[in-house]
Symmetry: D2
Subunit: 126 residues, 4 copies
């Protein structure tokens, strides 16, 4: 997934605002649903973020084209752990380990088979 950095993403320090890397990573997670004709929030449930660990290695700037890579690190019955990287060409700018739990009406439930197949797209670290 490729993302262009626009004015809205930057701040007065001239670089991408630190919270916006989380937006980019969420776009990549949601896009897998959209491209499969699904929505991230369906009748069967939805993922919520439980924990994340992020490293900021180098800043992105206005006009940069960034690549978001997502890799499935752990697959449990009711949660997954992903590694998401934001790169500018070969250079790694941002890296985040994120734990997502699957909920239905606010309570943790087993991830449905259909959703499991979707997130398996990340097994190879696309």
């Amino acid at each position: 997934m490729k993302i262009r950095v626009y004015y809205e993403d930057t701040d007065a320090a001239g670089i991408v605002y630190y919270a916006n890397y989380l937006k980019y990573c969420e776009r990549a997670r949601s896009e897998v649903f959209f491209e499969a004709g699904e929505t991230p929030q369906s009748a069967s449930g939805y993922f919520v973020v439980k924990e994340l660990e992020a490293k900021y290695l180098s800043p992105a700037s206005l006009g940069d084209i960034l690549t978001i890579e997502t890799e499935l690190l752990e697959k449990r019955s009711a949660s997954i752990v992903l590694l998401q990287r934001v790169k500018k060409e070969a250079s790694l700018l941002f890296e985040m380990k994120i734990k997502l739990a699957y909920l239905h009406q606010g309570r943790p439930v087993k991830i449905p088979e259909k959703i499991y197949r979707l997130v398996s797209a990340w097994e190879s670290g696309e």
Copy 2:
């Protein structure tokens, strides 16, 4: 209503991003509901933006404290027109005329009496 400009509000041009003045004005509109113990979206309906005309006079910067003023220009049975101003001390930075329609389940309805009393707080241009 007073608002501080934080990094998230600014962009790489070093000033407040042009869409964010609309956020400031919406905060002021919603705050009237919150302070009355209501929510902007209730069982009786909600306002949606139909039209706006904005003038950008002078930019705001990181750390500025802005004042948002709201004045009721027109009051009809199913819509209102407001004039909202963003000021830095005596200086006018941004001005917007905004038309809001009242909807219930997606269809225009008469603004309930309780809501009319709330928005009347803007008659004097607080």
Copy 3:
């Protein structure tokens, strides 16, 4: 220009937050610069928003793919007026007339020839 609606663009009303259509339009304006290998803010100057008039016709929702169209309405020596439309397939969701002035170090200046050629891409209403 095509834009996907992600969670970050929506609000608790379940639709795209009203200020975010301005973000989409700005992306389209900046993209013309990026694709020409330029930046919107260069040594010769930059555009700033002076006025806008917007109409909200129909809301966009999570997962929608939107098209942004930009048309040059007026071309003066130091300013331009654009008409920008946000569509979902054939349906018009949002429309904005926006006046941009060209500045150099905070003062209005004649738009350089190179920039004029860039914005002329919008003459045909791409």
Copy 4:
């Protein structure tokens, strides 16, 4: 520091978008500078985020009033580690450990004495 949740902070899931807790925490960090009559980015340098670890415990919703608490966990010559908490009354919603490095013109430098005194406001976990 108290923060009201507005529409712009929420998403189509009806709760505060996960990246926005980072915005709230940054506001609290910057406010210490503003209240001392300083700016977060001065001639002597500025802080940049290097790492963070966040836990999402319970979601915030439209209209909530949140309290941001900041506590200084580590104080080194060129970096600090903070613990920041977002609470709704007594209930903890979000918690983040964040490492900030002090830079001048892009390179790590010793935190100036004046800045050290500012961040010491967080020693008691205000």
